[in-house]
């Protein structure tokens, strides 16, 4: 008897945003940034969310995960593997979780008593990277139900940036664009090879110094320094080729893709990217922007955008979605998946 090949599918997904809304005009009023830059106008980010009291990175991932498990009708004890890709990994005292993995804490919080776990680190491309790794664990028979998740308690970099001089540290300005959020995807096994597929993963490491996050100086928590203009120029330079290669590899037609979600860095950049693609490929059916209300939620940004799309009833069963990620490194990776059955009944 020959075993049937096994592939993976997205059984469910979820994004989570904490309740507290913080407005860009309050954290970056005109005059607070050199040259009287209007940060809200520059980025198109009007507001973002910040954690509620007692929450931390694990709680953000937990909230998204329980939602995804409920939607996928899977119990925590039935998860075989949890892969976390959070960049921030902060507890509510701004301590960074190092060992064991972040996903070990999440497994405990979820009651995933039978689950294996580990973390993946690839900045804002971490989620697509983790989805690919999960896909390979399923294809190779090492897991059936895999939870890919992230919790980004990343807004402490805003506080750090506010306490620095933007004149002396202009690379701290992009830190004002982030927001907290959680994301989760539940993957399962299928015999259909077309439900979850990937473009070619690429790291253009010549740009590895354009965004760096590490511990703050003389203060608790992290700091982030970004050469924003250079980073986005580098990313934009690759955009068309990156899409073209993916369309070729996956045999897709741009105009037939139902939903396109790029990494949510700033509304203005997404619009600029969309204009570039319109010139080359034509206007796509639907591209999603949620960053105007969420900020850049790092590795969770696609999941948060998917959740926003769900709330607005954008998705129907069987439609396809292209997730385009780029993260510092510079890492570029694209996933393509089919909206699962039952999506219309998800709460």
């Amino acid at each position: 008897m020959v075993d049937e090949p096994v592939f993976s599918e997205v059984v469910s997904f979820a994004g989570y945003l904490p309740n507290k809304v913080v407005y860009t005009k309050d954290i970056a009023p005109i005059g607070s940034i050199p040259r009287k830059i209007d940060f809200e106008r520059l980025t198109g980010i009007i507001s973002h969310r910040e954690i509620d009291d007692g929450q931390d990175s694990v709680e953000l991932a937990y909230e998204a995960s329980i939602k995804a498990l409920k939607r996928g009708n899977i119990k925590a004890e039935d998860i075989d593997l949890i892969i976390n890709c959070s960049v921030s990994k902060l507890d509510n005292k701004l301590n960074q979780i190092l060992e064991p993995s972040f996903s070990a804490f999440l497994a405990k919080r979820l009651g995933a008593i039978n689950s294996d776990y580990f973390d993946v680190g690839n900045a804002c491309s971490g989620m697509i990277t983790a989805l690919k790794i999960a896909d390979m664990y399923i294809q190779n028979g090492m897991a059936k139900n895999v939870l890919v998740t992230s919790g980004e308690y990343i807004t402490p970099v805003i506080r750090e940036a506010q306490n620095t001089s933007f004149w002396l540290n202009p690379d701290a300005v992009p830190s004002l664009s982030v927001g907290d959020g959680g994301g989760a995807y539940l993957l399962g096994a299928t015999s259909n090879p077309n439900l979850l597929r990937f473009g070619e993963p690429q790291t253009l490491a010549q740009y590895d110094s354009y965004c760096i996050a590490d511990a703050a100086i003389r203060a608790p928590g992290p700091k982030m320094r970004t050469k924003g203009k250079k980073l986005h120029q580098a990313a934009m330079k690759q955009l068309i080729t990156s899409f073209q290669r993916t369309l070729d590899v996956l045999g897709l037609e741009w105009m037939e893709i139902d939903h396109i979600i790029t990494h949510q860095t700033s509304a203005k950049i997404i619009e600029r990217g969309n204009n570039l693609t319109v010139d080359v490929f034509g206007q796509c059916k639907c591209y999603h922007i949620c960053v105007d209300e969420t900020g850049n939620t790092a590795s969770t940004s696609h999941a948060v955008a998917l959740e926003q799309g769900l709330k607005e009833n954008h998705f129907s069963e069987g439609e396809d979605v292209l997730l385009h990620s780029y993260g510092s490194g510079l890492s570029i990776f694209i996933a393509h998946f089919i909206i699962p059955k039952g999506v219309s009944s998800w709460s």
Binding site: L98, P100, A123, Q206, D214, D248
Partner: protein, 235 residues
């Protein structure tokens, strides 16, 4: 099935950790008789990084230091993919397992796996030695064959986080809980590493032990929390 085509290890410093990792990686590639440009995947699997760096991946820094396929996208250009895996001391096993998946599922023939840890800040209490291990993983070479791996969870009796030292005004390491999971077992076909060591040392010790062995081998790593990984090998 993949093999460890070559490996190199040695001390590194916090300041020059990427340079040190790259030097070892270059030596491993020379020993494997491959060009750096043959590498399609770079996986870094350390836990402790300089000043608690969280992004970008250390793997991308190593890729850049080695100048592996660092160029802009063209329609038919070949590229490398770099990312980190974080799984305590088990990271070495996890990275090899993941590299084997990528090699099996892509056109990539060679992966570079680097396991390294350094004291994150000068003021941190550091229980280990700064060390790196670079391995060339390949489907097209002779060497120690990786067969499979399996993993079991720990009880979270211990953990390590960063914490801010208010007197020294710097983030330092904070070790919490019971870490008594040590105990070295060395029998003919099975090697259990010293769990008080970092992943790169545990893996290096196994590679040294496996020299001159034949047949099926087993390597067990137990991390600080009691989580375990068991890998099966063939010589």
């Amino acid at each position: 099935m993949v093999v460890i085509a070559a490996w190199a290890d040695g001390p590194i410093t916090t300041k020059n950790n990427i340079k040190g990792c790259a030097k070892l990686a270059r030596k491993a590639c020379e020993d494997a008789n491959i060009s750096l440009q043959d590498i399609g995947i770079v996986i870094f699997s350390g836990v402790y990084r300089p000043n608690f760096r969280s992004e970008p991946s250390c793997a991308s820094h190593i890729q850049n230091k080695l100048k592996i396929r660092c160029k802009d996208l063209e329609l038919s250009s070949k590229h490398c993919f770099s990312f980190d895996i974080i799984d305590g001391s088990r990271g070495a096993h996890r990275a090899i397992q993941t590299a084997s998946h990528f090699i099996k599922n892509s056109e990539t023939k060679y992966a570079l796996v680097v396991c390294a840890d350094v004291k994150p800040t000068k003021q941190s209490k550091w229980l280990y030695e700064n060390h790196a291990l670079a391995m060339v993983i390949s489907s097209h070479a002779s060497g120690l064959k990786f067969i499979s791996s399996n993993y079991s969870s720990g009880k979270l009796t211990a953990h390590t986080k960063s914490t801010f030292d208010t007197k020294k005004k710097v983030s330092v390491l904070n070790y919490v809980g019971d870490t008594n999971h040590s105990g070295e077992i060395e029998i003919e076909k099975e090697f259990k590493s010293d769990s008080s060591s970092l992943g790169s040392i545990q893996m290096r010790d196994f590679l040294l032990w496996s020299n001159n062995k034949k047949g099926e081998l087993k390597h067990t790593i137990v991390d600080r929390t009691g989580a375990m990984s068991i890998t099966h090998w063939r010589v």
